[in-house]
């Protein structure tokens, strides 16, 4: 299972996780204040994660109003934006996360797989 390429720390960890079973997901949700849209997005993504990624994900919710500098660094334009940092490739999901189907496909999760 080891890759011949030079590996970064995260890749090593990722591989280590892979050997144990499934990939670990690092997700970040950027919201702009606690608007109804934001709370809806938070609730939606939490549910998807619990349903499909229980135990192998970390989700961080960041309020852009509190940390505006992050918006530059992460190239955030829309709110809410969900960033899939790991596993690669990087993906972005914008909107209130109500379209579960799209997120599941986008995150490359087989529906029903626990």
């Amino acid at each position: 299972m080891r890759q011949s390429k030079e590996q970064t720390g995260t890749e090593i960890m990722e591989n280590a996780l892979e050997t144990r079973g499934d990939k670990h997901f690092v997700l970040r949700l950027y919201v702009a204040g606690m608007t109804p849209k934001s709370t809806l997005a938070v609730a939606n993504i939490k549910k998807i994660c619990e349903d499909h990624l229980a135990g192998r994900y970390s989700l961080e919710v960041i309020d852009l109003y509190k940390r505006p500098a992050l918006a530059d660094g992460e190239q955030i334009i829309a709110a809410p934006t969900l960033l899939k940092k790991l596993p690669l490739p990087l993906r972005r999901f914008i909107g209130d996360m109500s379209n579960t189907e799209k997120i599941i496909v986008g995150l490359d999760l087989q529906p029903g797989k626990k």
Binding site: Y30, A32, G33, K37, L40, A41, N44, L64, Y65, P68, A69, A71, D72, Q75, I76, I77, A78, A79, P80, T81, L82, P89, L90, R91, R92, F93, I94, G95, D96, M97, S98, N99, K102, I103, G106
Partner: protein, 566 residues
């Protein structure tokens, strides 16, 4: 507030934000609307990014208004590299917190829409950037990228509307760039949201020559120039010809400047051209237009004035070499910094670019005399109408600056006078050079067609190019018109011969008279001598008579005594 309040409150109530871009502030009557959004529309490569960047940089460096540049197409590094070639140091301004550059990266393939969203992220970034430098000016270049990068245009449109409202409420002056569209002004109809001021940039190619033009399509609440104005992008950024400041309001000078030919000065009421007037020298090929122009330039430099010479046919060294043959040392003036020769092929660039470039050179060099040789070559790069309109602007501009200008115009034999006449009405003085063909010779004639505001000679004179400069000869009229070349020489020789003959005749007559006088004197002497002789003779006879009388008396006495008479 660190903002410099400009005297921007116009009578029409719109407060303006100066762009500092040369010419644009004149066209817009002071700048873009302050605290509002301006849309800059143009095709690819029309100079949108540059115009907006210059707006920000001028704001930061000259008007103490920091700015934010939101780039959607280029990264901050690319952007600062691109504009560095135009003399803008973006990085230094960023370091001084006068400017913030934010690159917004959108990759459609990375983004998945999962429901309703808004652009609050962009708002936050923008707000953050504005706060970090205390920005008064914002540029969004090109916000249309959002349409390509984000799904759901309906949301996007609503959000853009909110964005522009928000920018207005923030009190920043915004410049939004937009790609030119097929049906509407911009591809995505941005003009719907940004309706205060719309500036259109165009990059047109006619006859393989490109010209950049700028037009203010709309300016809510303010008067503005509506024409298309040519503009130029060069080492110093954008410059637009400030045409609105032009008009027929220049002061007329009564000062005269020499033409460079003493005899020609005399033909012009004894002084030359009026200062600040425009002179047209027309003529067919090889009639000495360039030589006349060079003489004028030489005369200007000789009197310590600066002269700018636009040569559209010859290189500087060629001009210098050729003019040396008529005794003009132009290199001397170049060394002294009084003469600047600017040689270029007219085909090199579009007409408007020529105009703007000439305008810039004139502004930088501040000459008192300008020569354009020949102006007709410019017709190659534009049609008659364009050339006339360009010349009108150039001439007006030169008159405003009180610069004496001399234009040469090549006239072709067929219908040539018309070509000259196309621009002649712009000119105060028109000198026509022509070939005079007679007796199997071609000679040059010079004549003043018109000279506004001064008496001038009406004669056709012959002029020749000699190693001591241009020489205008006396005019002789023969049975078939003016005598030129060898006919004139012959005539002059004849006159000279006749004069000599006359002189000799006089001398001969004088000698004759002298001789006659001498003869007369001799005769008088002779007569006098004869008279003296006669007189002597008479006297001798008289005295002899008296002696005889005395003797006879004595004889008688003796006789009487002897005869013992009485």
């Amino acid at each position: 507030m660190a903002t410099v309040r400009k005297k921007a409150v116009k009578p029409d109530g719109i407060e303006k934000c100066p762009t500092g871009i040369s010419g644009l502030d004149e066209v817009t009557g002071g700048g873009v609307p302050k605290g509002r959004s301006t849309l800059v529309v143009g095709g690819a490569g029309s100079g949108k990014t540059l115009l907006s960047m210059e707006f920000l940089i001028n704001g930061a460096t000259r008007f103490n208004e920091p700015g934010v540049f939101v780039a959607f197409e280029e990264t901050a590094e690319e952007l600062s590299k691109n504009v560095a070639s135009l003399g803008f140091d973006v990085q230094a301004l960023v370091a001084k917190k006068k400017l913030a550059v934010d690159y917004v990266y959108i990759e459609r393939s990375e983004i998945e829409e999962t429901g309703e969203y808004d652009l609050e992220g962009l708002f936050v970034r923008l707000g953050h950037a504005i706060q970090s430098v205390g920005a008064k000016r914002v540029v969004l270049d090109t916000i249309e990228v959002l349409f390509a990068g984000l799904p759901n245009p309906a949301i996007l449109r609503a959000e853009l509307r909110r964005l522009f409202r928000w920018l207005k409420s923030e009190g920043v002056t915004a410049v939004i760039t937009g790609e030119r569209g097929e049906q509407s002004l911009t591809r995505y109809g941005l003009e719907e949201y940004v309706a205060d001021c719309v500036i259109f940039l165009d990059h047109r190619v006619t006859d393989q020559l490109s010209t950049r033009r700028l037009r203010v399509v709309k300016y809510r609440g303010s008067a503005h120039g509506t024409n298309e104005y040519p503009f130029l992008i060069d080492e110093q950024g954008i410059s637009i010809l400030p045409i609105t400041s032009l008009g027929l309001v220049h002061e007329a000078s009564t000062e005269k400047v020499p033409t460079g030919i003493a005899r020609l000065d005399r033909m012009f009421d004894g002084g030359g051209f009026y200062r600040g007037s425009s002179v047209l020298v027309s003529g067919t090929a090889g009639t000495g237009k360039t030589s006349l122009a060079a003489s004028f330039a030489d005369a200007a430099c000789r009197s310590g004035k600066r002269c700018l010479y636009f040569a559209f046919e010859e290189s500087e060294s060629q001009l210098v070499r050729n003019m040396r043959s008529i005794g003009l040392d132009m290199a001397k003036w170049t060394r002294k910094g009084l003469l600047q020769v600017h040689s270029s092929r007219p085909e090199l660039q579009g007409l408007e670019r020529h105009l703007v470039e000439m305008h810039k050179l004139i502004r930088d060099f501040e000459p008192q005399a300008v020569v354009v040789d020949p102006v007709t070559n410019l017709i190659k790069v534009g049609d008659r109408l364009e050339v006339t309109s360009m010349l009108t602007r150039l001439v007006d501009n030169l008159k405003m600056e009180n610069i004496t200008s001399l234009f040469t115009s090549l006239v072709t034999d067929a219908g040539g006078a018309e070509a000259a006449a196309g621009v002649s009405s712009l000119m105060d003085t028109w000198i026509n050079l022509e070939d005079i063909l007679s007796n199997g010779e071609r000679n040059r004639g010079i004549m003043i067609m018109k000279s506004r505001g001064m008496a001038h000679s009406n004669q056709v004179r012959e002029f020749s190019l000699t190693d001591r400069g241009l020489v205008i000869a006396d005019a002789y009229l023969g049975p078939s018109g003016i005598l030129t070349g060898s006919a004139r020489e012959t005539h002059e020789a004849q006159e000279r011969a006749a004069l000599t003959e006359q002189k000799n005749e006089l001398k001969r007559k004088k000698r004759e008279i002298e001789r006659k006088r001498k003869l007369m004197q001799a005769k008088i002497e002779e007569l006098k001598a004869g008279f003296e002789v006669d007189k002597e003779e008479m006297e001798r006879i008289a005295s002899e008579g008296r002696e005889k009388d005395a003797a006879s008396a004595a004889q008688q006495t003796v006789m009487a005594h002897m005869r013992k008479a009485d």
